[in-house]
Symmetry: C2
Subunit: 135 residues, 2 copies
DNA sequence: TCAGTTACTTGCTAATTGCAAGTAATCATG
DNA sequence: CATGATTACTTGCAATTAGCAAGTAACTGA
């Protein structure tokens, strides 16, 4: 697996913005750094995992086994929506209830999650993907 | 990309330790959570990226474009060594100089990095993998 | 001898995390 | 109509972590 030769790794990186969009702050143009700027923390990808697993509501995320603190969950959902990885849409009126769904951009995080699942299962003792009841 | 059906996503997770090794603390047995416990932060995977790019010494990591603070670099190298993702070995005596190299476990993070490169290049404007001069 | 390099450590402040509790809107029951 | 439950959050605060600047130790080369 040669990251450098297949896709390049920023080596001589320059901080000037190469896009014409009003870009957010970036540490460097390296795609690994850029991706980590969005989801480089302990919780964000767990929310994305839950979305892949079919969870949709705030309460469902909250009750995942890792017990994410509610303020962090609210913050991460806000950030995921801001990054257009997740869309927030009402699924009923009175009372208004929202569900969170992955956008196409979000669904394309699948390979990242998949690679982490494979690495975790192979290298972290006691790590085991449990199937959903139906699976 | 169906994470749930291909590899499972912990859904009904139980916190008891399923391994017989003296396991480190885990938030859950989910492989995504376990992987994030090891490298779920802004800096760890950047060091791994540098190792994939051929960097070996403390100074080389330090001079990467993202300018990692030195105390965090020291901490992350220590953690990567503790997790046996990286090995620290002397490459010269007098003065003793150390180099850091990926173990097999570390090299198997390639697919995670590769997935992030692909996602970053596609979805983060201004994100661009720059080739090494020789590449 | 004296600046320079490598590989860190230390001190301190700022930002983020995580726990607990509180809030607001609405619904379901008696 | 009052009471309790549910959903989806927000707020306050202590503890942890990040990040900047500076310092240290062991050499090297001039």
């Amino acid at each position: 697996m040669l990251i450098a030769s297949n896709h390049g790794v920023c080596y001589f990186a320059i901080m000037k913005d190469q896009s014409n969009t009003p870009s957010r702050f970036k540490r460097s143009p390296c795609p690994v750094a850029c991706t980590l700027d969005v989801l480089g923390d302990k919780w964000t990808l767990l929310v994305v995992r839950d979305l892949f697993a079919g969870k949709k509501t705030y309460g469902e995320f909250q009750h995942s086994p890792e017990k994410i603190p509610t303020n962090i969950l609210a913050d991460r959902l806000k950030r995921l929506v801001a990054h257009e990885i997740v869309a927030k849409e009402p699924y009923q009126a009175r009372p208004v209830r929202y569900q969170y769904v992955l956008t196409e951009k979000g669904r394309e995080l699948g390979p990242v999650l998949k690679a982490m699942v494979q690495w975790g299962e192979k290298h972290v003792p006691g790590s085991k993907a449990l199937m959903k009841p139906a699976g």
